[in-house]
């Protein structure tokens, strides 16, 4: 781990960037482990809302049941499929990166981001439906089902924010792929970015049945 | 050592204190032990002469680790279980408790009795009876804390909590709000008055004489916690003081002139936003009382505000009743009430602890020592001044009645006898 050890990487466009204090495999595993820790915090961030949802569902069982039937489960299911497919392509991007196929990495990531855009468009359609019925934040029926709609908008809204952040992250990874930066020796950003994206998918896997199906 | 808890006024206060004192003793013991050991080691093994002496490389002891894990564990279990049992007593309200509804609001405590009687910042309970307080809040979190009773529970808006206690002594006790609730949190105090059962019965039955409109207004002002923002002594709080408000002239924020007459005050109460006086927060933070106060209420409040604007009267502390002009029997009745005879002696013939006063005068009977008596002036005088001299058969001996010798003059006793004579 001495200083000059990785100087050669400066001349190697597909090798890991020069980090003076870690050897490349350690840097790779550290980055991945760091992202897992971050995902742990993200899970607990959403966890608060899941806990609130659980307790209010118990408290206002009928209101929640009723409110759930006002959500468009078809659009919700469609969005689930869209996110699952996006997640699949994120995983595929990692696979391509592991084989050093930068073009395919770029293509897979663009499909992932495309799915994310699709997800947001569908979400917007849903939100505007709610808006027309006065169910949106500040609408006159916002509290018709007690805390269901507020929680629905908090949970899906913050999830959508994560979708947008994930798009940015994957977009940055895509530009690196476009510059041919990855190889079987270095693909940390692809893997870490994909990990983040899978979390976005993971959260939605729970949000969809909770909000749209069982209420 | 370190016994600072306030006086014990509820029946479980004693057990709370004994747990507390147990913890104190354990704590002092271990603190002295550990800090003592530390200081002893420090002195005994101090480096001398600026040179380190040889030290053994002792890395630990499984035996000691086990000891100082197990011993604290046992102590903790004992204290925890003790505490949980103490708590359960505080949560199990005995049947037959008197239930008083308590509502916290910024910044007053409102009490509603089963009889419908309402009080603010002061409540009265009988000694020896279990009292259950059902507590809620109208606005933010508060907490109802009666140190002498060792009870406390938060007042939570939107739900009800409770606490109970059985007072074991009479007297006045402090109530604090212990959950931070804003500006006047530290002024959100109340008084608990524990009185004898008889006095409580009378207090609760007392609907009060008919209040004047201004007095009713004053009560409304208290009940609605207007004082949180409007002083009555001229000091500035959030809104204008009520002192000398009536008739004042001024300017609204839109430049319009006004005079604080009946209509202005009425509008300000029902719809505070309609016109805001210059220099006060706009929009006004005051809630609208439209639909909450009747016209009559408003009129009474206006009367009260008016009364605060009249030239200050010499306030008479208390109307002195002229005893000399009263009939002896009336004076006797007054003493009967003041001395709380009602607690044990009814006026309607029913037997409580002692004999009813109804039809007592002239009655004949037997003492516990076998002697017989006739309830004449001498007998009654002796019974009042020295209740234990002779106790009537069938009544508790020794008599639980206090001796009034030295407390009532012979004249007063005579008046009481006159009062009894009227109760045929």
């Amino acid at each position: 781990m001495s200083h000059g050890e990785h100087a050669h990487t400066l001349d190697d466009p597909q090798g890991p960037p020069h980090i003076h204090h870690m050897d490349p495999p350690t840097a790779y595993h550290a980055a991945k482990f760091g992202m897992w820790l971050f995902l742990a915090t993200e899970l607990l961030l959403f966890g608060v809302m899941f806990a609130a949802f659980a307790v209010f569902r118990w408290k206002y069982f009928h209101e929640f049941h009723e409110a759930s039937s006002h959500l468009n489960w078809k659009l919700g299911a469609l969005n689930t499929a869209v996110l699952l497919i996006s997640s699949y392509y994120a995983a595929i991007a990692v696979d391509h990166a592991q084989h050093g196929r930068n073009k395919q990495v770029l293509k897979s990531l663009l499909i992932t981001i495309g799915c994310a855009v699709g997800f947001l468009i569908i979400k917007t359609i849903e939100y505007s439906e709610k808006y027309h019925h006065g169910y949106f934040i500040g609408g006159e029926n916002f509290h018709e089902f007690k805390t269901f709609l507020p929680l629905y908008f908090c949970m899906t809204g913050i999830h959508a924010l994560h979708v947008i952040i994930g798009m940015g992250l994957l977009g940055w990874v895509a530009t690196l792929a476009a510059k041919n930066r990855f190889s079987s020796r270095y693909y940390t950003p692809v893997e870490v970015g994909a990990l983040y994206w899978h979390l976005v998918d993971l959260i939605w896997i729970y949000l969809f049945p909770l909000l749209y199906l069982v209420g | 050592m370190f016994r600072y808890l306030p006086e014990q006024a509820s029946d479980f206060a004693h057990s709370v204190d004994s747990i507390n004192n147990l913890i104190t003793d354990i704590s002092v013991f271990f603190t002295v032990l550990i800090v003592g050991a530390m200081i002893y080691f420090g002195i005994r093994y101090r480096r001398r002469g600026g040179v380190d002496h040889a030290t053994p490389r002792i890395e630990g002891s499984h035996f000691l680790e086990v000891i100082w894990t197990v011993v604290p564990t046992i102590i903790c279990i004992v204290v925890a279980v003790y505490g949980v049992y103490g708590f359960r007593v505080m949560r199990e309200v005995p049947a037959g408790a008197i239930e008083i509804n308590v509502t916290g609001r910024q910044w007053a405590w409102n009490f509603t009795y089963p009889s419908g009687k309402k009080t603010v910042d002061e409540f009265v309970v009988p000694v020896g009876k279990p009292i259950k307080l059902v507590i809620t809040s109208e606005d933010v979190l508060h907490s109802f804390f009666v140190p002498a009773m060792r009870t406390k529970v938060d007042a939570v808006p939107g739900q009800y909590t409770y606490q109970w206690f059985r007072p074991i002594k009479t007297g006045d006790f402090q109530v604090f709000c212990t959950e931070y609730c804003g500006t006047k949190h530290s002024a959100m105090l109340a008084k608990l008055r524990v009185v004898s059962e008889a006095e409580f019965a009378r207090w609760e039955a007392d609907k009060g004489r008919a209040l004047s409109p201004a007095e009713q207004g004053e009560a409304l002002v208290k009940l609605n916690a207007c004082g949180s923002c409007h002083s009555v002594d001229g000091s500035a709080v959030v809104g204008p003081t009520f002192l000398k408000l009536y008739g004042r002239k001024g300017e609204f924020s839109d430049g319009q002139q006004y005079t604080a007459d009946e209509n202005y005050i009425k509008e300000s109460i029902l719809n505070p936003q309609a016109h805001v006086v210059k220099g006060y927060p706009n929009p006004s933070p005051m809630p609208a009382f439209e639909g909450k106060l009747s016209d009559e209420d408003i009129t009474n409040i206006i009367q009260y505000i008016k009364s605060l604007s009249e030239a200050p009267k010499v306030v008479v502390a208390k109307k002195q009743e002229d005893l000399t002009t009263m009939a002896p029997a009336d004076r006797g009745k007054k003493y009967y009430q003041e001395k709380l005879c009602i607690g044990c002696h009814s006026l309607d013939g029913s037997r409580v602890v002692g004999p009813s006063f109804k039809g007592l005068y002239g009655k004949a009977g037997k003492f516990t020592d076998g002697g017989s008596y006739v309830a004449d002036d001498a007998y009654i005088t002796e019974s009042i001044l020295k209740p234990n001299a002779h106790v009537v058969e069938g009544y508790p001996a020794p008599s639980p009645m206090p001796a009034y010798e030295g407390q009532l003059s012979e004249e007063q006793v005579k008046d009481i006898i006159e009062f009894m004579k009227t109760l045929k």
């Binding site: 490349p24 495999p25 790779y28 595993h29 991945k32 482990f33 897992w36 820790l37 742990a40 915090t41 899970l43 607990l44 899941f50 806990a51 659980a54 307790v55 118990w58 489960w73 299911a77 499929a81 699952l84 997640s87 699949y88 995983a91 990692v94 696979d95 592991q98 084989h99 020796r185 693909y187 940390t188 994909a194 990990l195 899978h198 993971l202 896997i205 729970y206 969809f208 049945p209 909770l210 199906l213 069982v214 | 199990e92 309200v93 049947a95 037959g96 408790a97 008197i98 239930e99 008083i100 089963p114 009876k129 279990p130 259950k132 059902v134 507590i135 739900q159 009800y160 409770y162 019965a201």
Partner: protein, 135 residues
């Protein structure tokens, strides 16, 4: 570290899975989505929630194990993936031993035989004028 004893091909750093695995997992995820929607259309009472959560958890585990390569990660990663789930359970558990178990003060009176004068007991039910509890 990070290199598992898994049977598939090893990359230089992380784990390389055959493409077929990803495709199978995606297929399973989509089928599970259809199942969860289909089940929710029929009213099974509480079972609806149970089925939905079980299916969602299967999906989540699939995503974590294969898409996120958790299957091939070190125990410490498993630990930090598991702890938030445990803590979330703790949080929900902690809230649920509170709220559903709160008693309405009306019902807090125990029927322990207690000396109360007839006056006080007669009054006992009279204070029943505050509203219902919060639910």
């Amino acid at each position: 570290m990070g290199h598992s004893s898994g049977s598939d091909i090893h990359g230089e750093l992380g784990h390389v899975l055959p493409l077929k695995t990803y495709k199978t997992v995606l297929g399973a995820l989509l089928i599970l989505t259809i199942i969860t929607v289909a089940v929710s259309r029929v009213d099974f009472g509480t079972m609806n929630l149970v089925v939905a959560m079980v299916v969602a958890s299967i999906k989540a585990v699939l995503v974590a194990l294969f898409f996120m390569h958790l299957k091939y990660e070190s125990p410490i990663t498993w630990l930090y993936a598991g702890i938030p789930v445990f803590l979330l359970g703790l949080l929900i558990g902690g809230v649920f031993i509170d709220d559903p178990l709160r008693v309405d003060p009306k019902n807090a009176t125990v029927s322990v035989a207690e000396v109360g004068t007839s006056k006080a007991s007669a009054r006992d039910h009279a204070g029943d004028h505050h509203g219902a509890n919060h639910h």
